[in-house]
């Protein structure tokens, strides 16, 4: 079962930057309504892309350093990392079909 894992500032390098697979990072916070809409979509994508893409979540309230490092000024923001570098970014709520297109492009 692939469920997006919560990642902290301390774990970010190991879990995301040094990951073997591409990683989709969901930047969110508990008070953000649209983030609560994105979460179930990210969970579905995590099932569909199991083994191909790793999915993690970063709570921006608790992990300010990571949010600041990647210039997160709006949530939800999704970042796709490949080889330790961000290669795609989605700011704001987007339907699942659009997120799949972003992932497919990042994977190709």
């Amino acid at each position: 079962m692939a469920k997006p894992k919560d990642v902290t500032d301390a774990e970010f390098e190991q879990e995301v930057l040094k990951a073997d697979l591409p990683v989709l990072v969901d930047f969110w916070a508990p008070w953000c309504g649209p983030c609560r809409m994105v979460a179930p979509i990210v969970e579905e994508l995590a099932q569909e892309y199991d083994g191909k893409v790793k999915f993690v979540k970063v709570n921006t309230d608790d992990n300010v350093d990571t949010a600041v490092r990647y210039g997160i000024r709006s949530i939800p923001t999704l970042l796709v990392f490949k080889g330790g570098e961000p290669v795609a970014q989605v700011i704001g709520f987007r339907p699942k079909s659009e997120l799949k297109k972003v992932l497919e492009k990042a994977l190709s």
């Binding site: 916070a29 809409m37 309230d61 709006s74 339907p95």
Partner: protein
């Protein structure tokens, strides 16, 4: 393969959710199509305190409660974006970015989307300090100075919310008085963090990687200045999401769909409710009322025009 329903509702804000509740309780097979977030504009609203019977509730939570209630009676929700609408064999076909939906009656509750300023820097810096949702983004500007553009209810509401985090909130408004409701004006004027810049428009948003300021012009004196802020929150009204219906449904010059008091568009089996319609009061409760009216009218239309 097209999906067949009695009633298809396009848009999941308060109008669509209320229509869904009424249509499902009328035992009509009903689908609600939503392209983004359930609740629409209210899902981005921090607190709603003018929905009768509910003293105070988060906009997102109210929308979720409306959705649960409607789904408990059988409403089916599909997360797709409607792209077109046409008549076929006495029914309606709603085209989307995924499946097609066929329905005996269609209720358009596509709501309204926020207006953009249309100035240089705005699009490039969206998500990097330019925001249309203070409840989403204000927390990233703790102890910073920010600007709110606009003078209506949304601008005051979001400005007040932003003041919980920001050290200073400049309200930039093109006129010399606010359009917001009295109670919100009182709260805004009483808030020591809120500062008002009257008769002024934003002409450019400055910054490379992130917002560093806003260029302003006083519309009376013509004087230009730069306001050094880290964020610009923009609340300058809305436009109805009806571009995809142009040429099909009668609209006013602003793109609002013209309906009668039963939310009928004049095309058989096609209804419109909430912020997409002409003369809407643009409140959660009035949109919900519109949605209920449209669903009752759609139910009656189906009874009269289809053999059951």
């Amino acid at each position: 393969m097209a999906l067949e329903y009695d009633i298809v509702i396009v848009g999941g804000g308060p109008a669509g959710l209320a229509a869904g509740l009424y249509a499902a309780r009328a035992r009509r097979r009903t689908a609600l199509l939503e392209k983004g977030v359930i609740g629409g504009q209210i899902s981005l609203t921090e607190t709603i305190e003018n929905y009768p019977g509910i003293e105070s509730i988060g906009g997102f939570d109210l929308a979720q409660a409306m959705l649960r209630q409607a789904e408990s009676y059988g409403l089916e929700t599909h997360y797709v974006a409607a792209t077109g609408l046409e008549q076929a064999d006495g029914k309606w076909v709603v085209r989307t970015d995924e499946e097609e939906f066929v329905a005996k009656a269609v209720i358009i509750t596509a709501g309204a989307d926020y207006n953009r300023l249309g100035v240089p820097g705005e699009e490039r810096l969206t998500g990097r300090g330019v925001s249309y949702c203070a409840t989403c983004d204000a927390a990233f500007f703790k102890d910073e100075e920010v600007a709110v553009v606009g003078g209506g209810d949304a601008a005051m509401d979001e400005g007040l919310f932003t003041s919980r985090y920001a050290s200073k909130v400049y309200v930039v408004h093109r006129r010399d008085q606010l359009r917001a409701s009295r109670i919100l004006q009182e709260r805004a004027f009483a808030n020591p963090k809120m500062h008002f810049i009257w008769n002024t428009v934003v002409t450019e948003i400055l910054g490379e990687e992130a917002v560093e300021g806003a260029r302003l012009r006083n519309v009376v004196t013509g004087e230009e200045s730069v306001l050094p802020v880290k964020a610009v929150f923009i609340f300058i009204g809305h436009h109805p999401n009806t571009d995809w219906l142009r040429g099909l449904v009668p609209m006013d010059n602003g793109g609002h769909i013209v309906v009668n008091e039963w939310m009928e568009t004049g095309l058989p089996g096609l209804f419109a409710a909430g912020d997409v319609r002409r003369n809407a009061a643009r409140q959660v409760v009035s949109s919900a009322g519109d949605g209920a009216t449209a669903a009752i009218a759609a139910d009656r239309y189906i009874s009269e025009h289809f053999r059951e």
